[in-house]
């Protein structure tokens, strides 16, 4: 017979009430797990895309906290970047989120500078790459091929222009697998943004150190007003969607935490009230007040922890279902790290402790004499 066994017996005493409390905590935790995993997965997916491209630094316009960075004239910026020490290559990129089919959700359409290092990390699965910067063709990611039901030889309409699909590629980054890719020149023409890019990718030579990277950032910042020079990680963390997703997961965590703690609090308060005589008995047979408090908090932590564990499972399922939705497919890649799951369990413990503390204090204040008399 241990304290935990007794706590578990007490949790099982009112199965319906305990199940409801566990369910409420589980729903909250599931939302936290799913949204946080999606937010992190989204960030990680973009990070993977940048890492896969082997980009060291990125130049965008100031307003790039919007979903898509604003376009700017490449010619205004490139010469200065090329002057910097250790800069090996500067590659322009123009990206948009566009409708490419009548019924499907919008997809990422990328225009990459023809012949630049950006293309090197992609693996051609079928067909061929664009033959020149001027060729009006697209290659599409494996996931885009699935969601759009397009293959080599098919056509896609992008902004009123028809593009033959000449190749299918695979990337280590999910966002690229769900995207359509054409040459930068074609993208500029399609979007009527001649000479414009919304990101300039900089690849440094192998000898460049972190200090060199910081120095380049400093030089460019001093000379290019209105532009950001960021590492790829900084760009991703400033992305509006990443920020919104993170903010949503944080707000959800807060709300789920409050609701969960309140549910546990209510349940434990009722439980303590109903078991006043038993608590009196425990005190009468020699339990210290602290021991009684530990019992009550153990029960509340047990409830919250069970809810947390079920919530993690439900969060997995929820995120997987969301991932399979046509609207989300190729855009999210939930990331579940062991540390995150441990942190969620930790959150459940905190919820349980927060919800159980006051009822535990209440229980410890019980007068054994009055409780045993039934007053």
């Amino acid at each position: 017979m241990t304290l935990w066994m007794l706590a578990w017996h007490n949790i099982r005493r009112r199965p319906a009430r305990s199940a409801l409390t566990i369910a409420a905590v589980a729903i909250g935790i599931a939302a936290v797990v799913a949204l946080t995993a999606i937010a992190w997965g989204f960030e990680s997916s973009w990070q993977q895309a940048n890492d896969a491209r082997a980009t060291d630094l990125i130049v965008t316009r100031q307003a790039s906290q919007n979903t898509m960075p604003s376009p700017f004239r490449e010619a205004d910026v490139r010469p200065l970047l090329m002057q910097q020490a250790h800069v090996q290559q500067v590659a322009g990129l123009l990206s948009e989120m566009l409708s490419v089919s009548e019924d499907g959700p919008p997809a990422f359409v990328f225009g990459w500078e023809y012949g630049s290092y950006l293309w090197q990390h992609l693996e051609l699965v079928e067909g061929r790459w664009p033959a020149s910067a001027h060729e009006q063709v697209v290659v599409i990611g494996t996931l885009a091929a699935q969601t759009l039901h397009k293959g080599v030889g098919d056509h896609v309409d992008i902004e009123g222009l028809t593009f033959p699909v000449v190749g299918i590629f695979r990337s280590s980054a999910l966002v690229e697998n769900g995207a359509l890719l054409m040459t930068l020149r074609q993208m500029q023409q399609t979007m009527d943004k001649p000479g414009k890019v919304n990101v300039l990718n900089i690849q440094l030579d192998a000898s460049a150190s972190e200090t060199d990277e910081a120095q380049i950032q400093q030089h460019v910042r001093q000379q290019l007003h209105g532009y950001h020079v960021l590492t790829s990680g900084e760009l991703v963390s400033r992305n509006a969607v990443v920020r919104i997703a993170k903010a949503m997961s944080q707000v959800t965590t807060l709300i789920a935490g409050l609701v969960g703690a309140l549910m546990v609090f209510n349940t434990m308060l009722m439980s303590v009230s109903e078991r006043r005589r038993e608590i009196g008995l425990l005190l009468a047979v020699g339990w210290r007040k602290a021991m009684v408090m530990r019992l009550i908090v153990s029960e509340s932590v047990g409830l919250a922890l069970t809810g947390g564990a079920l919530g993690i499972l439900a969060g997995f399922v929820l995120a997987s279902v969301l991932e399979m939705l046509p609207l989300m497919r190729g855009k999210i890649d939930p990331l579940f790290s062991p540390w995150f799951l441990l942190a969620v369990l930790g959150l459940s413990v905190v919820l349980g402790m927060a919800g159980g503390l006051l009822p535990a204090l209440n229980a410890a204040r019980t007068s054994p004499s009055q409780a045993l008399r039934g007053e």
Binding site: R61, Q62, A63, Q65, N66, M68, S70, P71, F72, R73, E96, M97, L98, S99, P106, D157, E159, G160, M191, D192, K193, P194, G195, K196, G226
Partner: protein, 249 residues
């Protein structure tokens, strides 16, 4: 830095800017600058049926007191490439426009522009009311789509039009704008649902709905933009021999 992002979506522009613009007697756009916008437009009739969805590319350039607009249809395929060229000579003088085929020739079919679902609604939106004098600074407080705002009223210099707008008290955004005729009848109501931050840090509408007096409504989603568009030479010149049409009502 270019000060203009969405002239057509001027509803998002604030009272401060409107007052300043009115004092200077110019539109809220630097002269010589141009912008390009791409928008998804969906028009629903009074019964809620979706009419043909359209995609437009719109280029706007300000030259002194004149404003030039070039509309191009991206979708659907049957209108793809058709253009509308409009010149606002001055805010009091109204506009003239030309309709052009995808090949650049004149279109003489008088109904072609008005047939595009949503085009007329957006056209009406383009009346430069952010330059009109504020007639009544503050009216009653209200709430629009969960945003607290305060109504104010402006009117056109000729007194034919007036606009009521519910201005956010924290940021320069009109969450709801009503266009009224001289009799005070509401012709259009524009509700903003999503904003975007421009390069200069100011806000502009990204998603909004235009509701007409007959119960029909038009939703507009601006999905792409270029605040620093470089117009090609002669882009706003009408082809020779094309007759200008008067401004739509």
């Amino acid at each position: 830095m270019n000060s203009f992002w969405l002239l057509v979506l001027l509803l998002a522009l604030g009272g401060h800017q409107a007052t300043a613009s009115a004092q200077h007697g110019t539109l809220a756009m630097d002269t010589g600058k141009a912008v390009q916008l791409r928008m998804d437009v969906r028009r629903y009739d009074a019964d809620g049926h979706l009419l043909s969805p359209l995609k437009y590319a719109l280029i706007v350039q300000q030259q002194d007191e004149a404003q030039y607009q070039l509309w191009r249809v991206l979708a659907p395929a049957r209108w793809r490439g058709q253009k509308l060229l409009a010149h606002w000579q001055a805010e009091h003088a109204g506009a003239i426009f030309w309709r052009l085929s995808a090949e650049g020739g004149c279109l003489r079919d008088a109904g072609s522009f008005a047939d595009w679902p949503g085009a007329r609604q957006i056209w009406l939106l383009m009346r430069p009311w952010q330059t009109w004098a504020v007639r009544q600074q503050s009216g009653k407080d209200d709430e629009v789509n969960g945003h607290d705002c305060r109504w104010q009223r402006v009117r056109s210099p000729d007194g034919r039009w007036q606009v009521e707008r519910c201005m956010d008290q924290q940021q320069p955004v009109s969450w709801r704008t009503r266009l009224l005729n001289h009799r005070g009848n509401v012709l259009q109501t524009i509700d903003i649902s999503k904003l975007i931050r421009r390069n200069n840090g100011k806000l502009a509408a990204r998603d909004f709905t235009i509701s007409d007096a007959d119960g029909s409504r038009t939703t507009v989603h601006v999905y792409s933009g270029d605040e620093d568009y470089q117009p090609a030479a002669g882009m706003f010149l009408p082809p020779e021999g094309c007759a200008a049409q008067p401004v739509l009502p």
